[in-house]
C-alpha cells in the first residue's frame, strides 16, 4: 500500500498534462452546461452601463495583447453588445502597444455584427505612449493626446466626437485591461478627475483589485473569463466565455482531484515521515 502511495506522488507530469488536455477536449465534443451565478461586482458594472441614458458616451480603454485574448476578447464583446444595444456612443483607446491592431479588428468585427458605423457609433483613438501622462492629459482635453484618431482623422471631423472634450463628457469609463495600466486609471484618472470607473481585468489580476471596490474607487469589476461569462449571462447572449467556463469548471475539478491525490499520497507515503 505504501508503495502505491509512493508511486502516486511520483506520477510523471506528462500524465497530468494528458489528463488536463482530455478534460478540455472531451467537454468540447460532448455538450456540457453547468450553472453559473452572477456575482454582485459584475452585476454592478452591467447595471451602471444599463443606467446610462441612450445615446450617451462611454469610454472603453482597452489595454491587452493577444496573449490574454482568451479572457479579454469575450469580455469586450459582451460589453460592446450591451453598449450598442443601448445605442451608447463608444470611444475606445488602446494604451498598450501590442494590442493596438487586435483591438481595432475586434471593434470592426463587433460593429459589423451589430450594424454600427464608425465615427457615428464608435471611435477608435488608438495608441499613445506613456499611459499615465495620456490619462492625465485626457482629463484636460482628449485632443491633447489624441489630436487624430487611429486612422489619422482629426477628432473634430468625427461627428461622434463633436462636443466631447474630456471625462466630463462621458457617462462611464470602463477599462478592459490586462496591464498595470489599470492602476493608472484608478490613481491618475478616477482620483484626479472623479469619474465613475469600472474595470474588467484578467483572472490573475483580479485579487489585486478587489480592495478598490471596498474603497469605492471602482464601481465594479469583471474578473477574467468567469466575469466575462457572467456578463454574457447578464446580456442574455451566452458566447465564448460561457462555453469556456463550462470546460474550465471541469478542468478545475480535475485540478482539485489532483491536489487531493497529491496530498493524500504525500501524507500516506514515506515522504512525509522522512520530512518530519
Amino acid at each position: 500500500m505504501k508503495r502505491f502511495f509512493d508511486r502516486l506522488i511520483l506520477i510523471d507530469r506528462r500524465v497530468i498534462f494528458l489528463f488536463i488536455s482530455l478534460s478540455v477536449i472531451v467537454p468540447l465534443l460532448v455538450k456540457v452546461e453547468l450553472p453559473l451565478e452572477v456575482t454582485p461586482e459584475v452585476r454592478r458594472v452591467y447595471e451602471l452601463v444599463e443606467s446610462l441614458p441612450d445615446g450617451s458616451r462611454i469610454l472603453i480603454p482597452c489595454e491587452y495583447a493577444p496573449d490574454v485574448m482568451a479572457e479579454m476578447e469575450p469580455m469586450l464583446y459582451a460589453i460592446l453588445r450591451q453598449c450598442y444595444r443601448k445605442n451608447l456612443k463608444v470611444i475606445v483607446t488602446a494604451l498598450y502597444p501590442t494590442g493596438v491592431n487586435l483591438i481595432e479588428k475586434e471593434l470592426r468585427y463587433m460593429a459589423d455584427q451589430m450594424g454600427k458605423k464608425y465615427a457615428e457609433d464608435y471611435v477608435y483613438l488608438g495608441y499613445r505612449p506613456y499611459p499615465a501622462a495620456v490619462i492625465l492629459s485626457m482629463g484636460q482635453d482628449f485632443r491633447q493626446s489624441f489630436a487624430v484618431d487611429f486612422y489619422g482623422t482629426p477628432l473634430d471631423s468625427l461627428p461622434m466626437m463633436k462636443g466631447v472634450k474630456n471625462y466630463k463628457d462621458v457617462g462611464l469609463v470602463l477599462t478592459v485591461n490586462a496591464t498595470g495600466g489599470t492602476e493608472y486609471w484608478i490613481i491618475y484618472g478616477r482620483e484626479r478627475y472623479n469619474f465613475p470607473l469600472a474595470i474588467g481585468v484578467t483572472a490573475v489580476m483580479g485579487a489585486d483589485y478587489y480592495n478598490y471596490l471596498k474603497t469605492g474607487q471602482i464601481v465594479g469589476i469583471i474578473p477574467g473569463l468567469k466575469g466575462a461569462a457572467e456578463y454574457e449571462k447578464l446580456i442574455d447572449q451566452p458566447g465564448e466565455a460561457v462555453r469556456g467556463m463550462n470546460i474550465q469548471s471541469i478542468v478545475h475539478l480535475l485540478i482539485v482531484i489532483f491536489v487531493l491525490v497529491g496530498n493524500v499520497g504525500f501524507f500516506l507515503s514515506g515522504q512525509y515521515k522522512k520530512k518530519k
Binding site: R14, L28, V100, P129, V204
Partner: protein
Amino acid sequence: MTTVELLWNGLAAFLTLCIFSFLYKDNPFYKFAEQLVAGVALGYWTMLLYHTTFTDKVLIPIFQQGKLHYILPTIMGIMMWTRFSKKLAYLSRIAIAFYIGVGTGVALPLYMYNYVFRQLQATVVPLQFSWLGLNSLLMVSFVTCTLFYFFFSKEHKGTFGGLSKVGIYTLMAGFGASFGLTVMGRVALLVQRIIFLREYFIALFGS
C-alpha cells in the same frame, strides 16, 4: 473561412502546436516558435514606438508644425542615450533626474492617498452589529495581525508570536486566492487555444 484565412490560421495552429510540444520536452520546434514570438514582438514594439513617439512627438511638431519648444525634451531624450559613452555618461543623469523628479512629484501624493489613506479608510470602518460589521471586524483583526508579522524589532514569541502567526495564515489565504485565480486565468488560455485548434481542423477537414 477563405483560403487566405485558412493559411494564416494554419500558421497559428502550427505555432500553437510547437509551443504545446514543450509539455512533452524541450525541442527545436518549441525554440523556433518562442524565438519567433520574441522577434516579432520586438520588431512590432520598435516600429510602433518610432511612429507614435519619434514621429508624432519629435519630427512632426518640430519640422512640420514649427513647435520649437519641443527641441528641449528632445535634447533631454538624446541625453538619456549618452549613458552608453563613458565620457558623456554624466549627461544622462540630468535627464534621468528630471524624469524621476517629475514622476515622483506627480505620483507620490496620489500613490500615498490611494495606497495608504484610502485603504486605511476602507479598512477601519464604524462598528456595526451585523454580518457586515463582523466582516469589518475580522478584516481589521487580520490586517493588524499581518502588520505584526512584518514588525521585526520584537521577537515573535508568546502572544505576539501567536498574533504574527495569524498574520502568516492571513497572507497564505491571500496568496491562495491569487494562486487560484492564476490557475483559472491560465486554464482559460488553454481552453481558448484548444477551441481554436478544433475550429481550425473542422474548417480544414470538414466536421
